[in-house]
Symmetry: C2
C-alpha cells in the first residue's frame, strides 16, 4: 500500500513519463529518479515497488480520461452525437498524454493483473461507449447491436488507431482521426445500394 502521494510529486511523475522507456522493466528506478528529480529513497518512501509507480501513473491517467469523457458528453444531445463526442474525447486524451497511453498498452501484461487498472480501463473506455450503444439501441437512434461486443470493438479500434497515429505521425489530431473512425462504424463497409 502506498502513502498518499503529495500533489507536487504526482505532477513531477506524470510530467516525466515521456522520458522513460516504453517497456517498464527496462526502466530503472534510478531513471525515474533522475527524470523526475525525486530521489530513489523518496520514491520508496511513497511507493512499495517500481510496479506500484507504474500503477500510479496509469490509474491517474485513466481517472483523468474518465473525467474528460464525462465532461465531453452533452446529456441533451442525440445519442449518435454523444457517442461521437465520447470517442473524440478519448482520442484527444491519447493525443494529450501520449506517453502514459503508450505505457498502458506497452505493459498490458502487468496492467492486466491489477484489478483496479482493469476497472479503470473499463470506466474510461468501455463503459461510456457501452452505455450509449445500449441507449441508442433502445430508443431507435442506433441499430441494435450487442453493446458489449460493439463497445469492445470500438475500444480496440480507437486505441490501436490512436497509437498507430502517435507512433507513425508522432502526433494525433482527435478531430481528424475520429472523423475517420466514426463514419466507418456508422455506415459499415456494405456498399451503398444503387437506387
Amino acid at each position: 500500500m502506498s502513502r498518499s502521494v503529495p500533489a507536487p510529486m504526482a505532477d513531477k511523475l506524470l510530467a516525466t513519463a515521456g522520458e522513460l522507456a516504453l517497456s517498464w522493466d527496462e526502466v530503472r528506478t534510478e531513471d525515474i529518479a533522475e527524470a523526475s528529480g525525486i530521489p530513489r529513497a523518496t520514491l520508496y518512501y511513497y511507493f512499495s515497488s517500481k510496479d506500484e509507480i507504474l500503477q500510479f501513473l496509469l490509474t491517474r491517467m485513466l481517472e483523468r480520461l474518465t473525467d474528460a469523457v464525462a465532461a465531453a458528453e452533452d446529456p441533451d444531445a442525440a445519442i449518435p452525437d454523444r457517442l461521437a463526442a465520447v470517442v473524440r474525447a478519448q482520442l484527444a486524451h491519447l493525443g494529450e498524454f501520449p506517453a502514459t497511453a503508450q505505457l498502458l498498452t506497452a505493459n498490458l501484461g502487468k496492467a492486466g493483473k491489477l484489478p483496479d487498472l482493469a476497472a479503470g480501463i473499463n470506466a474510461a473506455f468501455h463503459e461510456p461507449v457501452r452505455r450509449l450503444l445500449a441507449l441508442g439501441a433502445a430508443n431507435g437512434t442506433l441499430r441494435p447491436v450487442d453493446p458489449e461486443i460493439a463497445a469492445t470493438a470500438l475500444y480496440g479500434a480507437v486505441t490501436v488507431i490512436g497509437l498507430r497515429s502517435l507512433v507513425i505521425d508522432n502526433h494525433l489530431d482527435a478531430d481528424e482521426v475520429s472523423g475517420q473512425i466514426l463514419p466507418l462504424f456508422w455506415s459499415g463497409i456494405r456498399p451503398d445500394v444503387r437506387p
Copy 2:
C-alpha cells in the same frame, strides 16, 4: 544473432508457452528451462538473451498465422466472403494458440521495438485485410473507405475482442465471435431506414 533452432527444440518451446507468466520479465530463464525441459545452458547456446526467446516464440506464431490466413482465402470467392474468411482464420488462430497470442499483446512494449515483429504483425493481421478492403472498394463490392484506417480498426477490434473472449470465457469460438464482429463492420450502427 541466434543459431538456427533445431525443430524438436522449437516444438518444445512453442508447446511450453502456455505455462509461462504473461509478463515476460516475470518469467525467469530457469522457468523456461523447467517448463520446456531444455537446460538453461542449452537455451543460451541458441539464443543470446531471454528477449530473443520471446521474439522467437512470437515470430513463429505470426508466421503460422500468416500462412493460415493465406490458406483460408479462396481467391475465386467474392471479396466480402474472403474478408470474412480472413477474420475467421485470425480468430481461430487466437483460439488455437491463446498463450502466444496473449504473450504478444502483453509484451507490446518489447515487441514494438523489434522491426521484424512489427512486420510480422503487419503480414499476419493488417495487410491481408487492407488488401481486400482496397480490392472491394475498387470493384464496388465494398463501400470505399480508407483501407489503411479500416484495416487498423479491424485489427484492433479482432484482437481485443478475441483476447477478451479468451480472458473472460477462457476459450474462443471463432465462428461465434466472427459472427458478432463481421455484421457490426458490415452494416455499422446507423439505424435501418424505415421504408
